[in-house]
């Protein structure tokens, strides 16, 4: 990509993120029922969606590795999972701060809390597996298999668990706000929320792009070195 376009894009992203942060604290109103806590909404929700998105992309790269057996896909999967664990950790921390302020306890084993915690465990297990195996091709193959196996549990936690335990926790108050049709989210809140989602997604894909560039350059360098020898 043209260097100038990249710089302009980064500048716009910086401005957007600044606007989102300012908007979250000064511009947007409060959701009835949450009052001052609304502000966490703009950061916690995008981060947890991106943590899940990173996991999905990791599963995609794992499938590509198992199909084509090119090491580059495994390195992509590792990078996206590294980003994913960071976002999942941030989502868990912001979520538990919200829980303490809103429901009085840092951790309640509410279905959504359980899901994000399981995601953290899956990421942790993925990296433990990677560090326990030495050879690169075996590491890649087994890590890809584990990533896909763990993917099986994700539909369970996202779709089945909230349906089963709906009535046990006051989570529906938050769910109502996610439905844009209901009166929970006014125009300003919607604006800041979706801008925040967009800004975080662009940040995620931009960091992924940078990591991919580094991986590709490394591989190219390795190939040149191997050719010389």
């Amino acid at each position: 990509m043209n260097k100038n376009i990249k710089l302009i894009g980064q500048g716009l992203l910086f401005i957007l993120m600044t606007l989102v942060i300012l908007g979250a604290f000064l511009y947007a109103g409060f959701v009835p029922g949450l009052e001052g806590l609304t502000r966490i909404l703009y950061f916690h929700v995008p981060m947890s969606w991106i943590a899940t998105l990173a996991f999905l992309m990791g599963a995609y790269y794992s499938i590509q590795y198992l199909r084509k057996r090119e090491l580059v896909y495994d390195l992509y999967a590792e990078s996206v999972n590294q980003l994913g664990i960071i976002f999942a950790l941030l989502a868990t921390i912001t979520g538990s701060i919200w829980a303490k302020a809103s429901w009085g306890a840092y951790w309640n084993w509410d279905p959504r809390e359980t899901s994000i915690f399981i995601l953290l465990l899956i990421y942790g297990a993925y990296f433990s597996l990677r560090s326990a195996i030495e050879q690169p091709d075996k590491k890649a193959r087994l890590a890809a298999v584990y990533s896909l196996l763990a993917f099986v549990t994700v539909p369970f936690f996202i779709f089945i668990l909230p349906r089963l335990y709906e009535t046990l926790h006051p989570d529906p108050i938050i769910s109502e706000q996610f439905t844009v049709k209901k009166g929970g989210m006014t125009g300003r809140i919607r604006l800041v929320f979706f801008s925040s989602l967009a800004a975080f997604t662009v940040i995620f894909f931009w960091i992924m792009h940078l990591k991919k560039v580094v991986i590709d350059l490394n591989l190219k360098f390795q190939k040149l070195l191997d050719k010389e020898n």
Binding site: T114, S128, A132, I133, L142, A144, V145, L149, V152
Partner: protein
């Protein structure tokens, strides 16, 4: 079909000679049961907590014994022979059925002991049995595939628990919920939503394990 039976019988014969896996699982389960019962002493426990305790005992004792079935192959260097002779599918099904029988034996021994030690009454036996059967199948399937994953890794014991826990956690959650319903009185239903979810999860887990085992076994 015949080959699956052969792999299963081979593992059974090995197990009957050395009794490594059955000893470790059974002793772990009984020691845990003893420790819990002794430390609770004469206090009576709520049925909700009893359900949770039962599944914790089953989950952790199963995690201690599942990795034996693949470690045996690696240590005695017979894994390569097995790769030459059989298809990956036969190997997985044979070892899955072996782990299933192993866990069933343990559950068959531990559950009556549990009921006797804590002295309570199960009000919905059919639901409880169905929950145990489906739970055993899911645990064995998940445990076998993760055991295959770590068979060649270095720090096997801790790694197995770390890898297996996220995959087996839905079984734990659903099993405890269904067991709680079965322990309480007044509910003679069987097709609770959680049983449907457990059945669905078992099917998904077995299918995913069969599909993925090929990639682990052949390199």
């Amino acid at each position: 079909m015949h080959r699956i039976l052969l792999v299963f019988l081979k593992d059974v014969k090995q197990e009957l000679r050395s009794k490594a896996a059955i000893n470790s699982i059974l002793l772990f389960a009984i020691v845990t049961l003893t420790a819990v019962s002794f430390s609770i002493g004469t206090f009576t426990i709520n049925e909700d907590i009893l359900a949770a305790l039962l599944w914790i005992i089953i989950l952790f004792s199963s995690m201690s014994g599942f990795s034996h079935v693949f470690l045996k192959e690696e240590e005695s260097h017979t894994a390569d022979t097995l790769k030459l002779i059989t298809q990956p599918n036969d190997v997985f099904m044979g070892k899955f059925i072996f782990n299933l029988v192993l866990l069933s034996v343990v559950v068959f021994i531990v559950v009556p002991l549990f009921i006797a030690v804590f002295n309570f009454e199960i009000h919905n036996i059919l639901l409880f049995l169905l929950c145990l059967i489906l739970g055993t199948i899911s645990l064995s399937s998940g445990g076998t595939i993760v055991a295959a994953l770590i068979a060649k890794a270095s720090s096997r014991g801790a790694l197995f628990s770390v890898l297996a826990f996220p995959i087996l956690l839905p079984v734990l959650i659903l099993g405890i919920t269904i067991t709680r319903i079965a322990f309480k009185e007044g509910q003679n239903v069987i097709l609770v939503p959680e049983i449907q979810a457990l059945f669905a999860y078992s099917v998904i887990l077995i299918t995913a394990s069969i599909l993925l085992f090929d990639f682990i076994w052949n390199d």
